[in-house]
Amino acid sequence: MKRKLFVASAISAALTGCGPISSALNSSGAVRRTLASAEGLDHLVIGTRGLAREYREHDVDRHFRVNGFATPSDARYMDLVAGNFVAYRLVVDGAVDQRRAFSLAQLHAMPQTTQITRHDCVEGWSAIGKWSGVRLGELLDAVGPRDGARYVVFHCMDNDGYGHLYYESLDLHQARHPQALLALRLNDAALDPDHGAPVRLRVPTQLGYKSAKWIARIELVGSFANIGAGNGGYWEDDGYEWYAGI
């Protein structure tokens, strides 16, 4: 009986020890680099292939969950809202043949596509929305990426409350995916401020944090090493995977 008691107490001691042990291992640089190696493997094996499932009107969440940072409340954004985004310009620059600044009317005049797709949050929840707007690939064609352009960086107007602006990035292959969309409308209405007005990204083949809201500027770069903390996105700088297909 003594031995059984010993086994039971060893197991429970091991369990209570788990938290501190894993927390200590978790802060080791070598451990973190090893764990992070799985991302490259996932990117290689899964990549960006196929199409996210498209749903019927019936499946749409009429009140699409609001998430992410707080809706911008700075003077510049409030002025844009007050002026119905007439003064808004989507700047596309960096490694492009022709730097452009698109007004909302110009974006609406481009070919529009609609998708009813599921938004998969990294936290685990999902919601379905009907999104309309301009294919990102269409916009890239309009500016002409130069040789050396590898990534498309999205600079946003929302911040984390500590002065860090949200940003995200895709590689050109992901950006040219037919479902990578610059959404102007949600559920048959102009995008409202809480859902990222006037322009947000939709990348249904990856987790929700890639689908940046409140986009102000799109920059084509050869490397994102000098942007933010250099990991290609706000949440990536906080330890999340840049490749968010899984």
């Binding site: 927390s23 599921r118 998969d120 999340y240």
Partner: protein, 258 residues
């Protein structure tokens, strides 16, 4: 009676066994960390409170509740409102001692989970292929002829029967457990884990659809974990009660005394 030692477990089997022990512990702990970021399980594709099977939460300060199929239980201290690993308590579904890392960190939990998922799967494939080639897998797989021996074996365990039914290296209940774990539960866990990923859903829409959608896949993934945890508890109970030292030695050195 004189003891006779037999070489029971090949090196690859022993190595794989302990790799799985570590991988399983990490995958459960990091999985609970990931679960904590959205502590609900819905039997649906998108999130749907109307089809919520499990919800762990904190309706008010200092109170933790668990709602299963609409029935709410107060689980303060265990689920919903738990210690955070840093000396205080808060609205965390699973407590810090059960999660990896201990403190709340979804990004880190995902890193541990997605790395050890590869470890577990690659290790399982290597072992499965090697064992199948050697022909030893046969001894572990439940056959139709074993079905009639399941109850007599259980009766023996319950001391309702003096002798176990005649069997090979593994008894019929062991075979049923191993077959269930290797060919039903483990594949279910791997496939549902893949199915809840948007990149995989895009490649294989039918995979996610077969499980009822993303949230449903998350539910199956969690249920599969519970089944594997149940296997683990029964397995360790049996090891602990049926010649603990001999069992442990055989899974370390390969030699088992009969």
């Amino acid at each position: 009676m004189k003891m006779k030692a037999v070489y029971r477990y090949a090196l690859l089997t022993r190595a794989s066994h302990w790799v799985w022990v570590v991988a399983f512990a990490v995958l459960v702990g990091s999985g609970l960390q990931i679960f904590n970021a959205s502590p609900n399980l819905d039997a649906s594709d998108k999130s749907d409170p109307a089809r919520r099977v499990l919800a762990i939460g904190s309706p008010s300060y200092g109170v933790g509740t668990t709602t299963l199929f609409g029935h709410t239980f107060v689980t303060t201290g265990w689920l919903g409102w738990t210690e955070d690993g840093m000396g205080s308590s808060g609205p965390h579904a699973f407590p810090a001692w059960a999660t990896i890392p201990g403190y709340q960190a979804l990004a880190d939990g995902r890193r541990w989970h997605l790395f050890f998922a590869w470890v577990a799967v690659l290790c399982a494939l290597a072992w499965l292929i090697s064992t199948a080639i050697k022909g030893n897998l046969r001894e572990m797989i439940l056959r139709p002829s074993d079905l009639s021996k399941l109850w007599p074996m259980q009766a023996y365990y319950l001391k309702l029967r003096k002798e176990p039914p005649p069997h090979g290296i593994y008894n019929p209940l062991q075979k049923a457990a191993y077959t269930g774990v290797m060919f039903i539960i483990a594949p279910l866990i791997v496939l549902t884990g893949l199915a809840l990923s948007p990149g995989i859903d895009a490649i294989a829409n039918p995979l996610t659809a077969v499980f009822g959608g993303r949230q449903f896949a998350r539910l199956w993934h969690f249920a599969g974990m519970l089944l594997l945890l149940a296997f683990f508890l029964v397995h360790t109970f049996q090891v602990a009660t049926q010649g603990f030292a001999n069992q442990m030695r055989s899974m370390i050195t390969g030699w088992y005394e009969t």
